[in-house]
């Protein structure tokens, strides 16, 4: 049983990573990755919403009418996202002022509905919860990797802290904090990750 849960975790986090394998959630991956702190809160929001949505959909899977299952999933996702929005606003108002516009957009994040439809609606609650959590973590890890590079190149900081002796050697790449920078980074990361995975699979 433990190995099953371990496999679900590994699949969601790495082997079937939502960003570079399933190519889901790309919109927010491009939008919020110019600062690491914004990315961390976005990752927390998506992980929380994906895990709880998957758990709830799995709990209700035997009662949800098939024809309206997607409407039900959207209602569940929207409710969890609104709760996250309110909680971030209450606990971290300064962060909410920056990422507020994107938190609402978690509702339309394909990862959440993708996992609810592909996994949670056909599996028991605990595996569904782990799958949602793993996919949320996989999404967060990729976004943080992109954000670290973009923030360093675009602002010369990591989590708002300036790089050592920044004025002596660092030169700003404004394009890295603009939308094209996100496309470059996402493409490079996807290329590296997929090349590595394909190599492992062919071994």
């Amino acid at each position: 049983m433990a190995s099953t849960y371990g496999k679900i975790l590994k699949d969601g986090f790495l082997v079937e990573n939502p960003i570079f394998r399933q190519v889901l959630g790309i919109c927010s991956a491009l939008a919020v990755t110019n600062l690491v702190v914004n990315t961390l809160f976005m990752g927390f929001g998506v992980t929380f919403a994906t895990a709880l949505t998957a758990f709830t959909v799995s709990l209700l899977r035997n009662w949800i009418p098939v024809r309206i299952r997607m409407i039900v999933q959207v209602v569940i996702i929207a409710c969890y996202v609104m709760m996250i929005d309110i909680l971030i606003k209450a606990v971290a108002p300064d962060i909410h002022r920056f990422i507020g516009p994107y938190v609402g957009l978690i509702i339309t994040n394909c990862i959440i509905m993708g996992r609810a439809e592909a996994f949670a609606s056909q599996n028991k609650p605990l595996p569904a919860l782990i799958d949602g959590f793993a996919n949320g973590l996989g999404y967060t890890a990729v976004l943080v990797a992109i954000a670290v590079v973009r923030e360093i190149m675009g602002f010369g900081t990591v989590l708002g802290y300036a790089l050592p002796a920044r004025d002596l050697w660092w030169h700003q790449w404004t394009i890295m904090v603009m939308p094209p920078g996100a496309f470059f980074m996402l493409a490079i990361l996807t290329w590296i990750a997929r090349a590595r995975l394909v190599k492992e699979e062919t071994k």
Binding site: N38, P65, I76, C79, V177
Partner: protein, 213 residues
């Protein structure tokens, strides 16, 4: 019960909406006090920074005391006006608001008592793009407004200028934000209209020259 029947579908949907709607209401109700406290703290913090007030500590009470002691509040023409009465400080401030690129932006603007110069600008609310338009909150941008001379006689109504303009290095010009031209232009537009509106409401006792537009 037949899961395909319209009655079941309707009842299920209604139950889901009631349960989850109640969940959101509970979370919203439970955090209401915290949200109101955060909003007051944020507003007081922005006012303290805008008027450069001395605050004894970082608590909400310290900010409230600093605002209460240093600012006299009045309502002029439906607009809240803050006048600094702290010893050795001066300035008259108001909240200038208008549409940004994504949503409404609100800034506290502090002018000299004769309304000829901007003493400071601090952003109160904005929902611009993080890392781009949202940089209007950063000190390098807001510091540009300090000491800016307002062009009350500009025939185009350009009391301030943001970004490229026909008269480089004008006394009322600040640099725009790279990658956020629309936010910068929106800020300039509503600043200019709000400054005119504020002057019309507030400046009558000062007996200023009529506006040149």
């Amino acid at each position: 019960m037949n899961k395909k029947s319209p009655a079941y579908v309707l009842a299920f949907m209604a139950a889901i909406c009631i349960v989850f709607g109640t969940g959101i209401s509970v979370v919203n109700y439970a955090t209401q006090g915290l949200l109101a406290k955060n909003a007051t703290l944020h507003r007081n913090g922005v006012l303290c920074r805008a008027f450069q007030l001395d605050v004894a500590g970082t608590s909400a009470e310290a900010y409230q005391q600093a605002v209460d002691a240093a600012l006299r509040t009045s309502v002029v023409g439906g607009r809240t006006v803050y006048e600094c009465v702290a010893p050795g400080k001066e300035g008259v401030g108001f909240v200038a608001g208008g549409m940004g690129f994504w949503d409404r932006i609100e800034c506290v603007v502090v002018l000299s008592p004769d309304l000829q110069k901007i003493l400071n600008v601090q952003v109160l609310e904005q929902k611009e793009t993080p890392g781009l338009g949202a940089r209007i909150e950063e000190p390098w941008f807001t510091d540009q407004f300090k000491g800016l001379t307002l062009a009350w006689n500009d025939p185009q109504g350009q009391r301030i200028l943001v970004g490229a303009n026909p008269a480089p290095n004008a006394a009322n010009e600040v640099d725009a934000i790279t990658g956020a031209t629309q936010t910068s232009m929106a800020l300039m537009r509503f600043f200019n209209s709000e400054l005119d509106a504020f002057r019309a409401q507030y400046a009558q006792p000062l007996n200023l020259e009529p506006l040149n537009r």
